[in-house]
């Protein structure tokens, strides 16, 4: 068990090193910083001296190693546009994205589990067909269009929600939109938009689980014992159908963080995704590569966590069967 875990950990580290190399490559596209510091009248010797002082004359691989060490120490350089340290930039933007993903995940799970169980239990009803067709439509709908639709209906026509931006209040740990009514109004539409794509996915997942569980022997026995259908669904089907979904949802958080950049761009939600989009349009390479590496690290970490948890829960995986 310990050896397997160690192997898995080593594998993840290698993947992280490889993505770090890509991120470092991106950094090397940035304009030569020596030009900036030395100015127009610097001699070749001056330039060489500055280059040596900054450490840019060392071998490529040494510089890459330093980049990775700095990433682990959370020293991500500074933005080319605002000269703000990237680490601080990320720290100030992260709460917006994390809250968005959290609210959106809760919405997705609520709607997905409820509708998935409904469509699984009432297999052939008209309503089930309608739900399944609209879930396919939801998957075919680009997130940015959904966002625009939400803005048009919720903000322009009805005027219930603000069209863009984030209303947040300073709390003891971070600035939060979840403690005021204004904040909730501003987070509702972005979170809804982000969750719709996933709801379709979860409906299909839960439905497949429910259909499979309902053919199990213990459900037949429960039925033979004369339990009412409602008790069977609530006490026997529901708990067993939810377990695998929680696992997928945890893995899905990485996808949500990545895809939140579309939602954030539509609603001008000041999170990490909007920061990434802005850094692309301004060719702000340190910010770009830091975001890239950060998202990759989150993905790798979540995958590792899911594998470890699964091997703890399921003894077959632990024994390598």
């Amino acid at each position: 068990m310990a050896i397997k875990l160690l192997q898995r950990l080593l594998q993840s580290m290698l993947v992280l090193l490889a993505t770090g190399f890509l991120a470092f490559l991106i950094m090397s596209f940035a304009p030569d910083p020596v030009d900036n510091i030395a100015g127009d009248y610097a001699t070749t010797e001056d330039r060489a001296r500055i280059r040596a002082e900054l450490g840019y004359d060392r071998p490529f691989l040494v510089q890459y190693g330093e980049y990775m060490v700095k990433f682990v120490q959370w020293d991500l350089g500074s933005s080319l546009r605002t000269s703000e340290p990237v680490a601080e930039l990320i720290a100030s933007r992260a709460p917006a994205t994390l809250e968005l993903v959290l609210v959106s995940t809760i919405m997705t799970l609520g709607a997905g589990i409820w509708l998935g169980i409904y469509t699984g239990v009432h297999r052939r009803s008209k309503r089930t067909q309608a739900i399944l067709t609209s879930s396919l439509l939801g998957i075919s709908m680009p997130t940015f269009l959904l966002g625009l639709l939400a803005i048009y209906i919720g903000a322009v026509e009805l005027g219930w929600f603000p069209a863009s931006g984030r209303k947040a209040v300073d709390t003891w740990m971070w600035t939060s939109s979840l403690v005021s009514l204004e904040g909730w109004r501003s987070i509702f539409m972005p979170a809804l938009t982000l969750s719709i794509f996933n709801v379709g996915l979860f409906i299909r997942l839960v439905r497949a689980d429910v259909l499979e569980i309902r053919t199990m022997d213990y459900i037949k026995f429960a039925r033979a014992r004369g339990l009412p259908e409602k008790t069977i669904n609530n006490k026997h089907v529901l708990p067993n159908a939810i377990m695998p979904v929680i696992n997928v949802a945890a893995l899905n958080i990485g996808v949500m963080i990545a895809f939140s950049l579309i939602t954030e761009s539509v609603f001008q939600w000041p999170g990490l995704g909007l920061m990434f989009i802005q850094s692309i349009s301004f060719s702000d390479f340190p910010v770009m590569s830091a975001y890239f590496l950060l998202v990759a690290a989150i993905f790798i970490g979540l995958n590792l966590l899911a594998d470890v948890l699964l091997s703890i829960v399921d003894p077959r995986i632990r024994r390598g069967e």
């Binding site: 993947v15 680009p142 940015f144 803005i151 048009y152 322009v156 579309i262 692309i280 993905f299």
Partner: protein
Amino acid sequence: MQKFLQHNIVQDYLRTPSAILSSLVLVAIIFCAIFAGYITNQNPFDPLQLDLMDSQIPPVWLEYGDERFIFGTDEQGRDVLAALFYGSRLSLLVGLASVLLSCFIGIGLGLAAGFFRGTTDTVVTRLADLQMTIPGLIVALMLAGVIKSQISMEMQETVMIYVVILAIGFSDWPKYARVTRSAVMIESQEDYVLAARAMGASPWYILFKHVLPNVMRSNIVIATVGLGIAIMLEATLSFLGAGVPVSTPSLGTLIRTGSNFLFAGEWWVVFFPGLMLILTVFSINILGDWLRDAMNPKLD
């Protein structure tokens, strides 16, 4: 056997109304995109043909509508319907080209990995794994953004389309590589391959003559779904400003520029390109769903 299979699929197709309907919609969209120059009365991207007097006209069934412009015009006097056809031409083109690129890279690497095994296999699998850790959207945005920063503004006008194709194509190949690799590994053990080998056929002959046709089935299904994803990805890139330039817009660019006028109540400039995009992707997805069931390949 081949004929029988074809026959079966045709039979299945004729019995599935949703497949017939969605393929008809797709054919209509492709027709409009190809013949956009003949069925519209202006080329919306030729500034000489635009008249500012015709700007911001609502669709024909609303008050102040103009029967020359069925879906209305935008702020530059551009016919929304014509822009729609020209835009979907670009969207379809970019989508198709990038799926072909993904297929080419993915199937090629998958064949190599499955057939030669050993080091080739390890390298390809590791590369695919590496890329799967990062979502395609971010890979494509990153590639498009980095290349865009390295070329001049004038070059962007002409080159960005190819950059977007490259970015989307490169972001989606691991799927094809994985399926092809596992299919090749299974097929290589089949009797007909062993027989061909016993008869002294060269590895290349076996690979292209015997193995390739048999792994195409699963790839066609993935490519259909992949086309929908690629069109959506292109629209997203263009909407986010990392896609094709405004002078030769795709559906995504049209929605991006139109969304600035949403608050002024000019919903039609966004609505119709959006509807076109959804209709295209939805039809492709329905067709893909049906194709998967009909061909029933062993997808993992």
